[in-house]
Symmetry: D2
Subunit: 143 residues, 4 copies
């Protein structure tokens, strides 16, 4: 069984991010201006009330929109910022962060993200929405 090479590359990049390893996110889909990250909720993702920590959603939003932008702009990108709005908390299940490029040109991409939580039966509820901007860095790795 062969994996799609584009998806395999995205998984390789995620695997090269130590912080993504700490969080435990996986790339579920990647390509054509879209990216989906998947995170099965475990205790380490929670805050003091047993809900998923806001920082986990924020990490997923940041990373999903950066991957979606990278699928359109190429691998050398730099996320400029994003806005996230929390909608509902989640305790259990699997988080799915779906990002898509709503517009891009050679220099930058604007992305929208929705994060849902899926239960055992696959029923989904919206947890938060985000939008952000990613710049193409033309081979420059970082500022």
């Amino acid at each position: 069984m062969n994996e799609d090479p584009t998806l395999a590359l995205a998984r390789q990049i995620l695997a090269a991010q130590p912080f993504s390893g700490v969080v435990g996110a996986q790339v579920e889909a990647f390509g054509d201006g879209r990216a989906v990250l998947r995170l099965p909720i475990e205790d380490r993702h929670r805050q003091q009330y047993g809900l998923v920590h806001g920082g986990v959603y924020a990490y997923l939003a940041d990373n999903a929109l950066t991957f979606a932008a990278g699928s359109a702009l190429g691998p050398s990108v730099l996320t400029s910022g994003f806005a996230i709005t929390y909608v509902r908390g989640a305790r259990d299940g699997v988080l799915l962060a779906r990002a898509r490029v709503v517009h891009h040109d050679a220099r930058h991409a604007v992305c929208a993200v929705e994060i849902h939580v899926a239960d055992d039966l696959g029923a989904e509820r919206l947890c938060c929405v985000a939008q952000g901007t990613v710049l193409a860095t033309a081979g420059k790795a970082a500022p």
Copy 2:
């Protein structure tokens, strides 16, 4: 040696957040509409280029502004959302996320955050800015 009881409470809340344990953040200061989180950069905080992952800044921004708001609104709060703008990357040193309430009434607080990286000599550089809104939940722990 006695610790300030307000700061001790804030540290207890952070210690009760499994995700904050995973990241390794500490409460440096807390009270009067302000909160400072501190995070010595380690390899687990980095992305594929060796820089601190955007999700780490986003976690710090989310948590610092929630703590700052909690110092004004009380412990039952719910972060509504925030916007973060990345300014410069960081590889090494200590991250300091300083949040302050710019306005609050009984129902909500608006907070601003700046995250700097400090080197061994204490020299600081701005890494990102954020602003967000936190709602008082009047004893309700979560949505």
Copy 3:
């Protein structure tokens, strides 16, 4: 010819906003968690390069998301804030700001907005995206 009473009410509210009269926006559709504002571009909407001023998009985003939220929460609402990302400029044509509620409960609504420009043939191009939060004020008109 009878107008839909819900749409008529929304138009009445817009007509009661002096600033909306100054800008010249119209309510094109309203109801079920959605609102569409329409603005034929005129010279008064432009900045120094002949493009629509960013403030015009920001006004449309603010107002469209407030109307969309009002269709779900009732007329007593207070917009908490929003984030807008500009995508492409526009010189001529008709601006269409389409807002929808992505989530709401009794206390607040989270809305997304897209603003397109339509040319004479109806072809559309995306100009900007926004997302924001609106609070129900339970009969309280303002803070």
Copy 4:
């Protein structure tokens, strides 16, 4: 009496924006990464409850941060987007939108804005805060 030439240039640019003429804003200060816009509240700036329309604050935030960025990056700039959080409404007085560059390099500037309302005696109250990003366009007027 001679006006500061930098301030005079900023006023000339604002005067070349038809939409700014419609709103009635003035440049109060400009230079060194800062800009202050001033707007005496009139009936045309209000919404249906007699308060200043959210779109007026959003216009001021957009324009003030673009001017502040322009004072650091030069006149060829393009605002990428911003986030605004409303704090308190205003009915009367003078709005003062103060923007400052919190960071800039050759390619872009990150700006923060606070909008206060001043009464007849000069007492001020915070109305909203915003932060945004502005790109240098190197002589390109628009996308």
